[in-house]
Amino acid sequence: MSKSKKKLSKKDFHPNILCFCCNWCSYAGADLAGVSRFQYPPTIRIVRVMCSGRVDPAFILEAFKDGIDGVIVTGCHIGDCHYLKGNEFARDRFERFQEVLKIFNLDKRFRLEWVSASEGKRFAEVITEFTNKIKKLGPLFAT
């Protein structure tokens, strides 16, 4: 745990969350949240990929290893995938991966969500809600 963090009380805990967005739907949803000025907590840092199917569980492990408090992967709704089925493979992969995360008690810090290009508000809501959840859980490396 090379990147240690100071011990924080839950109140002033400002979580660091990694967010993967697919180029076609959820990134566009995040854009629409911006255009529509839907406010959400400044906790996420977005990494854009072409498809949620690109997201390798290894990335999530890497993030947790570094001390990132939460990871959210977002993509097109099932059936909307620009690459036809990339999100379905992501879904199947992360369903299995959740079982692995459970072993390390990290499953609650990971989430997979579908957000369409017209769901700017939903994007803001999902991020707000996930942020609150991570806040409740506290920092990943709390001690």
Binding site: K3, S4, K5, N16, L18, N23, W24, C25, Y27, A28, A30, D31, L32, A33, G34, V35, S36, R37, F38, Q39, Y40, P42, R45, I46, V47, R48, V49, M50, C51, G53, R54, V55, D56, P57, A58, F59, E62, A63, D66, G67, I68, H77, G79, D80, H82, Y83, L84, K85, G86, F89, A90, R93, S116, A117, S118, E119, G120, K121, R122, A124
Partner: protein, 1013 residues
């Protein structure tokens, strides 16, 4: 007269967009004239699309962006046509472009003006359900993203002019005249929604809680007036009971229009389903006469709506609505089957309004000198579905007939296909190609990153401390230069970026501004102009992800901007130049199927000078059309077919293989190879070609029902048609019963065959013409005479053809007693009826040739749907393509369709094919996946997930010190790879590199997310 290699497309909805892209991609200069301030049309207003519930803007926005930045498409917004002169191949057109009261070239779309504007105007995009500023953009994803001033509302206060840092606003700007010289014109002006105000009985405009379907569509939309919350206008309460009233302004011979609007049954169902999905407490009821779910997989959608969502369908047309004054609820009356009148109260009523001709249709038709039909839509003919009455002017989409999005897209491509035939000699004459310097080799240089951070007026700079971020970025590793710009996207900044790249020898560039979805290509082009590979670029979105969503937390927004830039710099250090490969193209086409569809596609390609191999499994051309005599509209099919076959056989470029069978197909887009055996002597040929069109058609269902084949008095519609047109047997008959949906819409074939209702009515009318005294009864489940076919349904009823409905669960029964045939039908309203006809005609549907389709699908590696018809790449926007590039689909191989629709789709398929055939070389994307062969274990996981057939396992010999062995290795074809990266994440050995989104690159971003302490 010289032919001009430019085309004017009028109307920027999905039809105009598709035609423009198809033609611009095949070597023509396109002017796309749009009457409003953004392209996108009605589709951009839709929340979801049937029958897949796809998010409309998710699938449309990439097309908008593609159109907006296509180097050969000029979008002329806010413009209208004044005059046209000339002849096919060479027209002179005058247009007026109405002023936006700002300079389109200067406006960056930053939106500051709209935020500061004190005046509210009506938001027409939201169907007047909300307001917006008097200076505004049509909708957030508008293309081009420019603002305009509502001249009726603007008070000229000057605030926007003062605040606009781009100095774009100019109240005095006048309308502009534009003169164009084009070879052809495509009309794609779409439709208007029917305005139900004159139908006083429904109280639209008087009762607050009576709204139209397009208004409801905006209410459903997540980006609509209530952010997707379904609330009713009178009191903002969620309406638990919603009634949808179909056929408002359609199928109405007294008021409104007497044709069918084709789409309302489906969109109403969609709106009901989505409403239910949004809020489960909503209980939708649809009042309808027939359920016209005649398209591909539509009936399955209706069944799901009933079974899974509990949508209630009541087969009644509501004649009037009454408002209850206190509650503002709405009372409707309808009759039950037993003649009892029921009164039911709803909280909201949605009027499913039909399509009517665009209000500008008449004026435009006069200016262009084209004919309109009896309904005011553009006049076209069955065998030339996208040609107007004036040669050189084509039509597509709802301006020709009311239709849904896939059919609109098909026709848009078909119009492009026909323009191709007219203008092929002028191809590539007016398109521009940028001369670019040779690419610099920076591969062995250490990273030298330059960062350009945008204020976006005050959109970013008003919240994020941009100068502070610049200073911070300068401290990051590998960053050798950083600056901030008022607008990084402006033309002068592009020059500045190029100068800074050269001066500082930058070999990686980062722009921190808005979204890469709209602006990445612009900056990539800029850096390429000074010799940098375009993939040495990264973009950071500090507007949509920082200043706009954390407006009240400037410090945190600034800190987040720094984090995002740090991550981006980490990735930029890892960027490598990517190469786009060039692939040669064999400019010959292979068309599978020698019916009307295949022949039309073949003729289109050959007319442009391409060699075509036409494969027909039988010993003669013509397919299923050989058994048809007349269309519903009384066109002579046999004569058309005779001419078509003659044209094919006389064409030197078309080589026909009859009695042919395909043995194998290999290769990929641009380079296919097919082995075919043909002829009576089973000769064999190897054919090389660049594209494939699948036009294998469908076949008539051979009924097992109703003793078919055992009694000469029980025949199919096709047999009856032959009797009608070649014999006078019908003169001796007194009574005929036709049974619809035989072998369609049942468990074995859970789809509608689309053509049978029209075929039955056609034959009934013909029989009445020959023998006016004959009694004809048509037993049906729904009469699906969509569009203008409704006219013939009305005509048949006027001629006393009797229509009796039955339910799916109680199909008509056949009894033969004492050699007398008797048919018993159970009508939901009238009960049991017995008929003793002389002849029973079974309307049998179309079915896919299962075995043949399965074999061909396997060879082509393309999918079939559940009913074994070929499955297109995307139901809504790619109805002619397969997911595998270079293979196209038309006619009934896609789903049952009539001749007109098949001819349109064939020309559309030809238009798609010509994009490939006309290209000297195909250029692959740099964003692809590559296998590191050494570590590949040949497991095939990647092959399984790839939806584009880009990956195959190849046997390779591996040599070790003392022995060698053969192993399987995965190989990815860059010509087919779309760069989604799914294979990379699926690979158990992590041995697939996803270019630009590689392991090192993404991990570098993750590692840089937290500041190292």
């Amino acid at each position: 007269m010289e032919k001009i290699g430019a085309v004017l497309v009028i109307g920027g909805g999905i039809a105009g967009i598709q035609s423009s892209i198809d033609l611009a991609d095949s070597g023509y200069k396109i002017y796309l004239a749009e009457s409003t301030t953004s392209i996108g049309g009605v589709m951009s207003q839709l929340d979801k699309t049937f029958p897949t519930n796809d998010c409309a803007i998710c699938i449309l926005a990439p097309k908008l962006v593609e159109t907006g930045r296509h180097e050969n498409i000029d979008i002329l917004i806010n413009s209208s046509i004044e005059k046209i002169e000339g002849e096919p191949g060479n027209f002179k057109v005058d247009l007026i472009q109405r002023t936006l009261r700002l300079d389109q070239n200067k406006c960056t779309g930053c939106g500051l003006c709209a935020q500061q504007c004190p005046i509210e105007a009506i938001d027409f995009f939201n169907e007047k359900l909300s307001n917006k500023a008097a200076i505004s953009v049509k909708f957030p994803q508008a293309v081009p993203l420019v603002f305009s001033i509502d001249k009726d509302k603007c008070i000229g206060c000057g605030i926007c002019k003062g605040i606009c840092k781009a100095k774009a606003i100019d109240y005095e700007l006048q309308n502009k005249e534009i003169n164009l010289n084009v070879g052809a014109v495509v009309l794609a002006i779409g439709f208007d929604e029917y305005d139900p105000t004159p139908l006083k009985q429904f109280g639209y405009g008087k009762y607050l809680n009576v709204i139209t379907s397009i208004e409801f569509e905006r209410i459903l939309s997540a980006s609509g007036p209530h952010s997707g919350l379904i609330i009713r206008p009178s009191d903002g309460i969620i309406p638990k009971k919603i009634a949808f009233l179909n056929c408002i302004g359609s199928r109405d011979r007294k008021q409104g229009n007497n044709y069918c609007s084709s789409v309302c049954c489906m969109y109403t169902t969609k709106e009901a389903v989505i409403a239910k999905e949004h809020m489960n407490i909503i209980d939708p009821t649809i009042f309808t006469m027939d359920i016209r779910a005649y398209g591909k997989d539509f009936d399955k959608y209706i069944e799901r709506a009933k079974d899974e969502y509990g949508i209630r369908y009541i087969r009644r047309r509501i004649s009037s609505i009454k408002e209850i004054p206190d509650s503002k609820n709405l009372k409707v009356y309808y009759e039950t089957g037993k003649g009892k009148i029921i009164e039911e109260i709803f909280n909201l009523v949605v009027l499913s309004v039909g399509m009517q001709p665009n209000q500008k249709a008449k004026e435009l038709a006069q200016k262009l000198n084209i004919q309109l039909n009896e309904y005011g839509f553009c006049k076209t003919d069955t065998f030339t579905p996208v040609e107007t009455s004036r040669p050189g002017i084509y039509v597509c989409g709802a301006f020709a007939t009311p239709k849904d999005i896939p059919e609109t897209v098909i026709e848009a491509s078909a119009a492009a296909g026909c323009v191709n035939v007219l203008l092929s000699e002028a191809r590539n004459k007016l398109v521009t190609k940028k001369e670019l310097p040779e690419e610099l080799d920076v591969s062995d240089q250490p990273p030298r990153i330059g960062v350009f951070i945008c204020h976006c007026g005050i959109n970013i700079g008003g919240v994020v401390d941009v100068p502070n971020v610049v200073e911070y970025v300068k401290t990051l590793p590998d960053v050798v230069y950083a600056e901030h710009n008022l607008y990084t996207c402006s033309a002068d900044t592009q020059t500045n970026i190029k100068e800074k790249i050269e001066k500082n020898q930058l070999n990686r560039v980062i722009v921190a501004s808005c979204t890469p979805r709209t602006h990445e290509a612009l900056f990539q082009a800029t850096i390429r102009e000074v010799g940098l590979n375009k993939y040495l670029f990264e973009m950071v979105n500090i507007r949509d992800q920082c200043s706009w969503v954390h407006m009240h937390e400037p410090e945190k927004a600034t800190a987040k901007s720094k984090d995002l830039l740090r991550m981006s710099v980490a990735k930029a250090s890892q960027l490598i130049p990517l190469q786009e490969q060039e692939i040669a193209v064999i400019d010959k086409g292979l068309i599978i199927g020698g019916g009307v569809s295949g022949m039309s596609a073949a003729l289109n390609l050959a007319s442009q000078g391409y060699d075509v191999y036409l494969i027909e499994k039988e010993d003669s051309l013509g397919g299923i059309a050989r058994n048809l005599y007349r269309t519903l509209e009384n066109d002579n099919i046999q004569e058309y077919l005779k001419n078509l076959i003659k044209n094919i056989e006389n064409n030197q470029l078309i080589q026909v293989f009859k009695n042919a069978q395909i043995n194998s197909i290999s290769g990929y887009i641009g380079n296919f190879s097919t082995n075919v055996s043909y002829g009576n002597n089973n000769k064999s040929a190897d054919l090389d070609h660049g594209i494939i069109v699948v036009a294998t058609g469908a076949k008539e269902y051979q009924p097992k029902e109703y003793n078919f084949g055992q009694d000469p008095r029980i025949i199919t519609q096709t047999q009856f048609e032959k009797d009608l047109f070649t014999t006078d047997k019908v003169k001796g008959l007194k009574s005929i019963v036709m049974v619809q949906c035989v072998g369609s819409r049942n468990e074995d074939h859970p789809y509608c065959s689309r053509i049978c209702c029209s075929e039955a009515i056609k034959n009934a009318l013909k029989a009445k013409e020959i023998n006016p005294n004959i009694e004809i009864v048509i037993l049906y489940r729904d009469i699906r005479t969509y569009g203008f076919k409704e006219k013939y349904y009305n005509l048949a009823r006027d001629k006393k053809v009797i229509f009796v409905r039955f339910d799916e669960t109680k199909p008509p029964e056949l009894k033969i007693k004492n050699k007398q045939v008797k048919i018993i039908v159970n009508n939901p309203d009238l009960g049991k009826i017995e008929i003793n006809p002389d002849l029973i005609v079974l309307s049998t549907g179309l079915v896919a040739p299962i075995k043949e389709n399965e074999e061909l699908a396997k060879m082509l590696k393309v999918p079939l749907n559940e009913d074994k018809f070929f499955l297109e790449a995307h139901v809504k926007l790619r109805p002619i393509d397969f997911a595998t590039d270079g293979i196209y689909l038309c006619g009934s191989a896609h789903s049952p369709k009539d001749l007109r629709e098949s001819i349109a789709q064939s020309n559309g398929a030809a238009a798609q094919a010509v994009k490939i055939l006309s290209a000297e070389k195909l250029v692959t994307s740099g964003l692809v996946a590559v296998v590191i062969e050494e570590n590949c274990i040949g497991c095939g996981s990647c092959v399984e997930v790839c939806q584009f057939n880009a990956i195959e396992l190849i046997e390779k010999e591996r040599t070790f010190e003392d022995f060698s062995m053969r192993t399987m290795k995965s190989h990815i074809n860059p010509a087919l790879c779309k760069g989604c990266g799914t294979c990379g994440a699926q690979c158990p050995n992590s041995t697939i590199i996803i270019k630009h989104f590689g392991f090192e690159q993404i991990n570098a971003m993750i590692s840089a997310l937290l500041v190292q302490s």
